[in-house]
């Protein structure tokens, strides 16, 4: 195939090779300390490759592409993947002690972790829209297995629901992908090049608008399920609350982003065609619906991990709204929000995981007085919640502020609704935070060997982004925002 000539063995492929090589190794290593260390090592290597990408020439082939958009997400994904692997090492130590995980399960857990990260990298670097689909599918199946790790009735229910809904979503996304190919094949001729995303964008205005619009509807429902947009979100809270907490962190921080990334790639194609449906309007509606729905659902949550799962739906709604509004400023805010949410939400899950271990429960009502019993953990948790609620000086405040100020000029009424949703979510989160931190400590309270480094690194990054965004990053986001139209 000629396209391989355009892409000889480049470092890009290491993003796939490293996780792929780690899977069999981790599957056989019995010692859990060693396998956790190897897991960290594999993640660190992948991160190093991703960090080198900005300094390498951009490449494109019919199968893979590296451009500014995916470099930013690759760095984010591999970074959070790396910090989560560090966190996971201390988390699983405790789970082994309490007997919730067995060494055999752990081998499986580590291989699946690498499978998921590798699949997400595949989805991110794919130029071929079919390959992108394969990446999302494999990542989904790997996380299904991980959500079911604990084998409690709840975990099995959650994994089964995730499996069924995820499969349906992914099936519809594939149908959309085939339709897109049909549309592109009429213009580009058949074969591999008709599935190349960049060629579709270049020829977007010549594509058949009606079939393209239909294709986008399927892609929206399909990948929208992965993003967790209401009303396709039903799998998300269960999957987040029943699996091991490192998985909740990567699900929220990374997999949802990958789904949105896929959707945005197709948005660029459809937006390039004047006759096709107005994608922006659809994204605005879905974003606002998700935000409002999740904000009000936050009230009735009794499980701490479910609380933050709904908060993820809320933030994916905010990001989707931002990209729906479009334009340089709103897109910039959307990109910033995507990265801030990833960092903050995974930090929160790091803290929540240890809190649940310390108190032996995930029920909000049974946790209180953390500031007395676990001051350091409580501090990290409080900072994370304050950041995700959108208080200054954290980065989430920055992105939400930018978004509201750019949207209010174009959609004043909708922005009012949007701000209402933000405020409701803000109120609930602070209310819950108060209950968890203060008051007399109740229930059991064990000491945990918590790993604070990943937690505070994320928080410091979010803080820095809120105070001062480096010019390089600003320039980078501007470039990507322009690309998103």
């Amino acid at each position: 195939m000629p396209d391989h000539a355009a892409l000889p063995f480049s470092p890009v492929l290491l993003l796939l090779v490293v996780p792929a090589a780690a899977i069999p190794v981790l599957a056989v290593v019995a010692n859990y300390r060693l396998s956790a260390a190897l897991n960290i090592l594999a993640c660190a290597l992948t991160l190093a490759v991703a960090l080198s990408l900005p300094f390498l020439p951009r490449v494109r082939g019919d199968l893979f592409i590296i451009d500014d958009f995916n470099i930013f997400l690759l760095v984010l994904t591999t970074f959070v993947g790396f910090t989560t692997s560090v966190y996971s090492a201390s988390y699983i130590g405790h789970e082994l002690d309490t007997g919730r995980l067995t060494p055999v399960l752990l081998r499986f857990y580590h291989s699946m972790y690498q499978a998921m990260l590798g699949a997400m990298n595949l989805a991110l670097i794919a130029n071929n829209v079919g390959l992108m689909w394969v990446g999302v599918e494999v990542a989904t199946l790997a996380t299904v297995m991980m959500v079911g790790t604990y084998r409690t009735p709840e975990a099995i229910e959650a994994a089964w629901k995730y499996f069924i809904l995820g499969s349906v979503g992914i099936g519809l996304a594939f149908f959309g992908t085939v339709l897109t190919y049909l549309v592109a094949a009429k213009v580009l001729g058949g074969g591999v090049s008709a599935m190349a995303w960049d060629l579709m964008v270049q020829n977007a205005s010549r594509l058949d608008p009606s079939l393209l619009s239909l294709a986008f509807v399927f892609l929206l429902v399909g990948y929208g399920t992965k993003v967790g947009l209401a009303p396709f979100h039903a799998w998300l809270p269960d999957a987040h609350s029943e699996g091991p907490t490192p998985i909740s962190a990567v699900l929220s921080g990374l997999l949802l982003n990958v789904g949105l990334y896929a959707l945005l790639r197709f948005k660029i194609v459809v937006a390039g065609n004047p006759g096709a449906i107005n994608v922006g309007a659809i994204l605005i509606v879905l974003g606002i619906v998700s935000l409002l729905f999740a904000a009000f659902m936050l009230f009735r949550r009794r499980d701490i991990k479910r609380l933050f799962a709904y908060s993820s739906i809320e933030h994916m709604g905010i990001t989707t709204f931002a990209f729906g509004v479009g334009g340089p400023l709103a897109n910039f805010a959307g990109l910033l929000h995507m990265s801030m949410h990833s960092l903050t939400k995974s930090a929160i899950f790091f803290a929540v995981g240890h809190i649940a271990q310390a108190k032996g429960t995930q029920r909000i009502a049974k946790i209180s007085g953390l500031s007395v019993t676990h001051p350091a953990l409580a501090l990290g948790f409080a900072l994370g919640v304050i950041a995700i609620a959108g208080l200054p000086p954290f980065g989430v405040f920055m992105s939400e502020f930018l978004l509201v100020s750019s949207a209010i000029a174009r959609q004043p009424l909708l922005t009012l609704v949007f701000v209402t949703g933000l405020l409701v979510a803000f109120a609930v989160l602070l209310l819950r935070l108060h209950g968890l931190l203060f008051g007399a400590p109740t229930g059991k309270s064990e000491r945990v060997r918590a790993s604070y480094v990943p937690l505070f690194i994320h928080l410091v990054l979010v803080l820095i982004a809120g105070l001062w965004l480096p010019n390089v990053v600003v320039g980078w986001f501007r470039g990507v925002a322009a690309m998103l139209g």
Binding site: N128, V178, L182
Partner: protein
Amino acid sequence: MPSLWFDIAHLFAGGVLVLSLVLLYQDRVTAAINVFALQAITLALSVGWQAFIQSEPLLLVTALLALTVKGFVIPTALHRIVRRLDIHREVEQVIGGGATMLAGLALVALSILLLQPVGGGGDVVSHEDIAFALGVVLLGLLMMITRHNAVTQVIGFMSLENGLILAATGARGMPLVVEISVAFSVLIAFIVFGVFVFRIRERFDTVDVTVLERFRGERRDQA
């Protein structure tokens, strides 16, 4: 292309769709597995025929994969699972068989109406195939919704995937790498299912997924 060639393509693709409808009202798990196997074989014939009329020998690989994996390997494995779970004699209550069939017919009509008008011209075979494929996909969805048994739910899902393969092969010149990865991911999905169906059985003593609902989310908190 002689019109007979087109008619044969039509026959096979239509056959896949009709078998999807047949699948809807199967109330025995073993019968559902057999119908699914038959659908996969018809799909393989359809793909093989496409390989011939599109003169794309590579499509034969897809056809062969569909035939072996979905026509034989998965149904055999399903039969074994069902026997090990001891539900091969069970009769599942199909809720409102008549209503489901009507809904199924409506979905087929919908998919044809949806895809007929768009992008006229092009080639007729792929157009028909895509419309049929959408019908198969939607019927698979319908089956997943109306069933309570984990095994029949997954059969619904696998028949949905048959629709995806039909769509992929109907699209002329679709790269082989994509089709192979679809087949591959179906296999992984099947393994995932195989793992979970036994876990469900182990925890709940049944594969009726309505029992799982009791453990949904926060419901246990109220107890």
